[in-house]
């Protein structure tokens, strides 16, 4: 047997060294062949795209990077460029404040908007990422009042009293809950809150403001707001205020009560059916017709009201989607536990439905934030209006691209990062078992 080993010549007893794969099958070249030149159609597409990208970049890159940053007027900029075709970024350098804060915002108070913005991010984070400590949610709850105080100024007593209203309403609801059903006790709470906000609160605040104004900041009128700040304010307050209305509308739309359902559907379909710009014109032209003669809101507030109503219709649809996505067992479990309608909503349904609605809410916010550009058409000094004002100025008469690219870039950065977040969350929710 032993010589068999030697007689069978074709049996190898040592391993061959591993050969490198053929050059066309690995690394760069394979990747390029598979992904760019797999057949003649792909090859043609690739070549056309390369030519397109090249010609685009050849035009755009020198224009962008060869731009002039130090110039105080278009003439000066053109002199520096001396015939070269490049951007005049000097306009951004000189006027970025106008774009960010608006034309009329006092420059000594810019710091307030910075704090408001940083706090906004901190306040939003715990909502967006549930890994963060839940205690931070208290800041989220307090943020709207802080923002009002920081942006519009005045004494802190006003916002505090509004916040107090919620606390009063909470305790009133709890207290009344001992004697009646949760639906009715909520009504009692709302009534007490309204009483506080319209009668008791203003009186107390008036006295307090006269005696010990708390952290009084310089007051800023709504019409002094502008630029990025106003877009942010309208967007954030629109979304924040529309959330509760949206919840009510979504519940109403799913309700068994035909009248309530019809009213909610009517509201939602109306606001989703007309363009936002007509609603904004309504805010600027008609809203005063619908209010008593002595009640005059300023334009910014009217716009916020309209934007809130508008986005609450969209929010209702988002939350309805969240409610529909909940397994029926959750409703049945709530019924089985003997919870009444409001308890079931508050303790079981809403927390889950809202959580799965967050991507949709973020998308609504992105849409709303982009739509804030429309306020330009009714005379609010947002970024587009700032651009127009700069273009109307004799120093920068004739400049176009630099401004719109800059404004577009600001929107892009905000919206892109938010949409990335909502995509991430969607993926996470899909894998998260709830």
């Amino acid at each position: 047997m032993s010589n068999q080993n030697t007689t069978i010549a074709f049996v190898r007893d040592n391993m061959l060294d591993q050969q490198p794969a053929p050059r066309g099958q690995v690394g760069m070249s394979k990747w390029i062949r598979d992904n760019l030149f797999s057949n003649w159609l792909n090859t043609a597409l690739t070549l056309v795209s390369i030519v397109l990208i090249y010609s685009l970049l050849r035009g755009a890159l020198p224009w962008i990077f060869g731009g002039v940053w130090d110039a105080n007027s278009l003439q000066e900029c053109r002199e520096i460029l001396s015939g070269r075709h490049a951007a005049c970024w000097g306009v951004i350098n000189e006027r970025w404040q106008q774009i960010f804060y608006g034309t009329f915002f006092p420059s000594s108070e810019y710091w307030r908007t910075h704090i408001a913005f940083v706090l906004l991010i901190i306040a939003v984070l715990p909502v967006l990422f549930d890994a963060l400590p839940r205690k931070l949610l208290w800041l989220t709850a307090a943020y709207p009042f802080l923002m009002v105080w920081l942006i519009w100024g005045g004494s802190l007593w006003g916002p505090l009293s509004i916040a107090m209203g919620f606390v009063v309403a909470y305790f009133a609801t709890i207290g009344a809950g001992r004697y009646m059903g949760s639906g009715l006790s909520t009504l009692v709470g709302v009534a007490i809150a309204l009483l506080w906000w319209f009668l008791i609160g203003p009186a107390i605040v008036g006295v307090l403001n006269d005696t010990v104004p708390l952290f009084a900041l310089r007051e800023i009128q709504s019409r002094e707001l502008g630029g990025f700040v106003i877009s942010m304010i309208i967007g954030v307050s629109g979304i924040a205020l529309s959330l509760p209305i949206g919840i009510v509308l979504a519940l109403g739309r799913q309700s068994d009560l035909p009248l309530v359902k019809a009213m909610c559907i009517g509201f939602i379909e109306f606001f989703r059916g007309v363009p936002l710009i007509t609603l904004l014109f309504t805010a600027s032209l008609l809203l005063n017709y619908f209010l008593p003669p002595d009640v005059v809101f300023d334009l910014t507030l009217r716009v916020i009201v309209m934007v809130t109503l508008f986005s609450s219709a969209y929010m209702a649809e988002v939350i309805r989607g969240g409610l529909a996505a909940l397994p029926k067992g959750q409703y049945e479990a709530a019924d089985a536990l003997g919870l009444d309608y409001w308890q079931a909503q508050r303790l079981i349904i809403m927390p889950q439905a809202l959580k799965i609605s967050i991507p949709g809410i973020v998308n609504t916010f992105i849409g709303l934030f982009k739509d804030t550009t429309l306020v330009f058409f009714i005379g609010i000094f947002d970024m587009l209006a700032a651009a127009q004002a700069i273009r109307a100025n004799s120093a920068w008469n004739g400049i176009t691209w630099e401004l719109y690219i800059f404004i577009g870039l600001i929107f892009w950065v905000c919206c892109f990062s938010m949409s990335r977040y909502s995509q991430w969350l969607e993926r996470k929710l899909r894998t998260d078992h709830h």
Partner: protein, 406 residues
């Protein structure tokens, strides 16, 4: 939401039952809601009444019959400055529908192309499409409209550049299309005597194509033979119409744009405000549609394309025959809402001065007559009807597309 049924009580009705009896509680809640609703509605209506009274105005739609006194450049129906405000509003409404309709078509073409190409195996193409989608949908559409308008106005040659011995600019396609900084002028058909025959022949051949398609399909199912369907259809499309056209001595001519005076005259003018609005809306909405299409395709399980491959269907046809028909069911509902958005966004025409419904009824008419309440209400009502019609129509279509489960 109440699931408990109380046993009927023997004795009669008590007030407290309104609150505690689940049978009556829903009525109580609805009545309260209705009272609140009526209160709000009446509050608003009474305010409007008293505010109008203190201004000495009243609600009156009579202004719609008065002459409008202004001119509209883009119009699909006859209109001049002596026409009524109502007619001006109709011109505006048609302009809105025109741009919305063309926008929906172009946006769908762009969106489907981009969505499919984003899934392409070609890395470069897929990345380019990703960049397109992410750039366009994250920047407000107003900015795109304004920017498109600026590109058209500032980079294209003005009519005066076409003038003179050695003009700076020249027309395209053998002097038939003029692309200028004011608008694009394309040849328009000139209907001569006998052109009706050509049109009728053309319509008949369209009918013929349809009939042939049905016949060929039945034949295929019966015999299994495949005819060169495409080429035969092309032949039916062109041959009869062209024959009649030449037999009758070319009754349909083309009206070419010619530079006369300050502007190009003749032909059909697509003004820049229209083009800017149309292109910007289409490209912007297209980026959303691309995402819808992409996620629709991804929603079809991989097994479907593997099954198609197992059946021996070529990869190029798998998309058309297997994936897209199924993906369509996922795609159509969000597509409807994009079409609605596009229609509503067409009101941003005011950024470029395209005279749509908002610019006529809700713009110049409102302004000249001072009837802001009437104009705005009417305008919102019209937009609402348009939106509801679109969504109803598309929902019907969606239902017909639905998977018919047997």
């Amino acid at each position: 939401m109440t699931t408990m049924i109380d046993p009927p009580k023997a004795d009669g009705f008590h007030i407290s039952q309104l609150l505690y009896d689940t049978r009556y509680r829903s009525i109580t809640i609805q009545v309260i809601a209705f009272i609140a609703f009526m209160f709000i509605a009446l509050f608003l209506v009474m305010n409007v009444k008293s505010n109008l009274a203190s201004l000495g105005k009243e609600i009156d739609f009579g202004f719609l019959k008065n002459p409008a006194n202004y001119d509209i450049k883009q119009r699909l129906i006859e209109y001049d400055s002596t026409s009524s405000n109502f007619r001006a509003a109709m011109v505006g409404l048609l302009n809105t529908l025109f741009v919305a309709f063309l926008g929906c078509i172009l946006a769908t073409i762009i969106g489907v192309t981009a969505g499919v190409l984003r899934l392409s195996k070609n890395w470069l193409i897929a990345k380019i499409m990703t960049v397109y989608v992410e750039t366009f949908r994250n920047i407000p559409v107003v900015i795109w409209i304004i920017a498109t308008m600026a590109v058209l106005t500032e980079t294209l040659p003005q009519p005066k550049s076409f003038r003179g011995e050695n003009p700076d600019a020249s027309m395209w396609l053998w002097d038939s299309i003029a692309v200028t900084g004011r608008g694009t002028y394309i040849p328009s058909p000139d209907w001569g005597a006998g052109s009706a025959f050509v049109v009728i022949t053309f319509l008949l051949s369209l009918l013929g194509i349809w009939a042939f398609g049905r016949w060929a399909k039945r034949r295929f199912e019966a015999t299994g033979q495949i005819l060169p369907n495409f080429w035969i259809k092309i032949a039916i499309f062109f041959v009869p119409s062209l024959l009649v056209f030449f037999i009758l001595g070319r009754p349909i001519g083309l009206n070419f744009p010619v530079l006369t005076g300050f502007n190009f005259k003749g032909g059909f003018e697509l003004s820049n405000s229209f083009l800017a609005l149309w292109l910007a809306l289409s490209v912007y909405t297209g980026s959303f549609i691309a995402e819808i299409v992409r996620s629709g395709i991804l929603a079809i399980s991989k097994g479907q394309s593997e099954a198609a491959a197992a059946l021996g269907i070529r990869p190029s046809r798998t998309m058309n025959l297997v994936i897209l028909p199924q993906a369509l069911r996922v795609i159509i509902p969000p597509l409807i809402s994009q079409f609605l958005n596009l229609t509503k966004n067409s009101s941003l025409a005011l950024a470029v001065g395209y005279q749509d419904l908002r610019a006529t009824l809700g713009g110049t008419t409102m302004n000249n007559t001072g009837r802001e309440l009437e104009s705005m209400l009417l305008m919102m009502l019209i937009y609402l009807i348009v939106s509801l019609v679109i969504s109803t129509g598309m929902n019907v279509y969606n239902k017909s597309m639905k998977l018919k489960e047997r």
